[in-house]
Symmetry: none
Subunit: 211 residues, 4 copies
């Protein structure tokens, strides 16, 4: 998996790296609560600072602009996803591995519905540069599933063209996210386990159709 090392730098006047990490996590947590409740634009930096537990002045010691907060939030989500999916054994190309990856991804989304919804609905408010970075991360996530699918494909379980690989990977990512941004419709009709089961089955049947 290609590593995207050039994480955009959010500058700080504070030096203590650990403190920075700590404060930023406080900021992200506050932001999730507030952005979920009122959206990026309606939430004010004052509120974020207050919920985070410090003053507006302090907020701006760890962040240059309000947009930085959103960026930090999106970035942290991708890190979570990466960590979750990286904790796997090497991919050997079996369908069970694919199933497990899907399951982990869906479960992660279920445990972070708010954060995912925010990312989905608010990332457009990022600057062009930051948005570009975030979309790249998103593509990385797609690529991740694309790779797993490719492994399966190469081992003969599936036979998919490059285009089909991409569309299939996209398919997984989107359906997973839909559990977050369409919670209002889905959650009252099924549990996350039922959802995973249904999605996995139909998805696998779908891509195995040619055989």
């Amino acid at each position: 998996m290609a590593k995207n090392k050039e994480r955009l730098q959010v500058e700080t006047s504070v030096k203590d790296a650990q403190l920075i990490e700590f404060r930023r996590q406080q900021i992200i947590n506050a932001a999730i609560v507030l952005f979920k409740e009122k959206g990026f634009h309606r939430a004010t930096t004052r509120e974020i600072a207050k919920v985070a537990g410090f003053s507006i002045g302090t907020l701006y010691e760890y962040v240059r602009t309000k947009e930085d907060v959103l960026y930090l939030l999106c970035d942290s989500i991708y890190n979570e996803v990466r960590q979750r999916l990286d904790s796997f054994p090497q991919y050997s190309g079996t369908v069970d591995e694919l199933k497990e990856a899907i399951k982990q991804y869906f479960l992660l989304i279920d445990s972070m519905t708010d954060a995912f919804t925010i990312m989905y609905q608010e990332s457009k408010s990022l600057s062009k540069e930051a948005l570009h970075y975030v979309l790249n991360k998103e593509l990385e996530m797609v690529a991740l599933f694309q790779n797993i699918l490719k492994n399966c494909s190469e081992l003969g379980v599936l036979k998919l063209s490059e285009q089909e690989l991409f569309l299939a990977a996209n398919h997984i990512v989107i359906q997973g996210q839909s559990w977050a941004f369409r919670r209002w419709a889905l959650h009252r009709h099924c549990t996350i386990d039922e959802f995973i089961e249904y999605q996995t089955n139909t998805f696998l049947c779908g891509i195995m159709r040619q055989e």
Copy 2:
């Protein structure tokens, strides 16, 4: 298809109904351009009026608040969808009909990508009341596909539980919309026709798995 007759009223001080219709279409068109470009919050009412071709005062003759503009936009999209899908012959329950409905829906989205994207990213900015109305419209759209699927199901082509019917219908709606809100990823990998083909095939194989 259940008719949602209680369209929320957006008040006006203008009396000429035709003029209202005309001006509001101008407003919607302007809004699509601007909301796409900068999002609901960054677009100003002044800009909307300017792009629409009249003064800020005139804008507010046809709309009470900025939110009304967004509501009008969402509402008009659903009307388009309804019109498009209502223009069909009676549903007889064949798979071809299902395919055709999916196709029409996807093509509609393709021809209104911007409007759909806006609706999906900005509808959260609606007031509770208006949001509720819009989500209901969305559920109606899902129900529409649910009905077609049910027809197929009853005629023996498919065998789906109620839950599966709902999830399958959702599936279609979401994948269709993803063509709009993930255009940045999808459009460079395939055409709308390829996308339709791929989605239709995998979807049908997916839901026919039990046989």
Copy 3:
């Protein structure tokens, strides 16, 4: 009584004098209702026209500015007062005549509380020129009572200096108006008749103190 003949002209594009009179009375009536309810500034010209029963365009055929409406209203009040107090017999200088004048004045106010309150609270919104005119009218009203008092004074019933005459006349005018602008306090403690009785008695005792 000195006549103030130079009534400020409110121009019109309409020629028919009777129609003008009629429409303006409609305007004044509407204005009384609305200014009472929301004050001069919060009442809009649109509303005035609507309550008056015609369109905003028509309103502006009979009035140059919103301020004109207020001016018309104030002016009409003074005319009412004048008419009411002019309908008396010649003043002969008896205390009974004074009592009667006070009574008529107070009763008039009681029958036009809203209009008087508006005049008292909103006349400051008139242009300098119009305000000047209105205040002159007010002084005329004071002068009217001043004259009656002078008559009494000259006939030996009272002995008042010029200054006392002025202050006493003012006293009457103010107490009368207070029945309007302090209705919220007074009306629940006494009727207009009790109020007149009380005011007349204390006033007369007051100014007759020297004897």
Copy 4:
């Protein structure tokens, strides 16, 4: 004298209580100048801030709405009145005490003509809630004189019914205020001392008439 402890709270984002007091006094002073000159509605918040000596943003750190400014102004007037009249010795029921109270009240008004005029002409622009509070304060002021009169009455100097007590107290309050809102008429005919003398005399003769 009944204490009205529930002073309506005007919220602030500033924490330093002393600073709040100081800035608000600046705001009130600026408001008196401007409301006097152009009235509540024609004076803009920007102007108020400018005259007060700070930016519009700062104004809104100490006040939630423009109406709050008016409320603050009214409230401060009542506090002045209360302080002035509370600094007296216990009321013993002599006429001299009554005279002194009247004198102090009139002198206070004379030293704050603008503020009183504003309060009387603009308080109608307050919200229902704030207006109610202000009118209560006004009634308290009336009650204050009512009490003094009652003392006199009980000690045998005066014999007044409850209704007469109320009307007499109102009388004083109104005449005092008239020195403010009719300055244009009164000030050129007499000094405040002459006015006090005249009012006191006629008032006392008036209410002592029955004996």
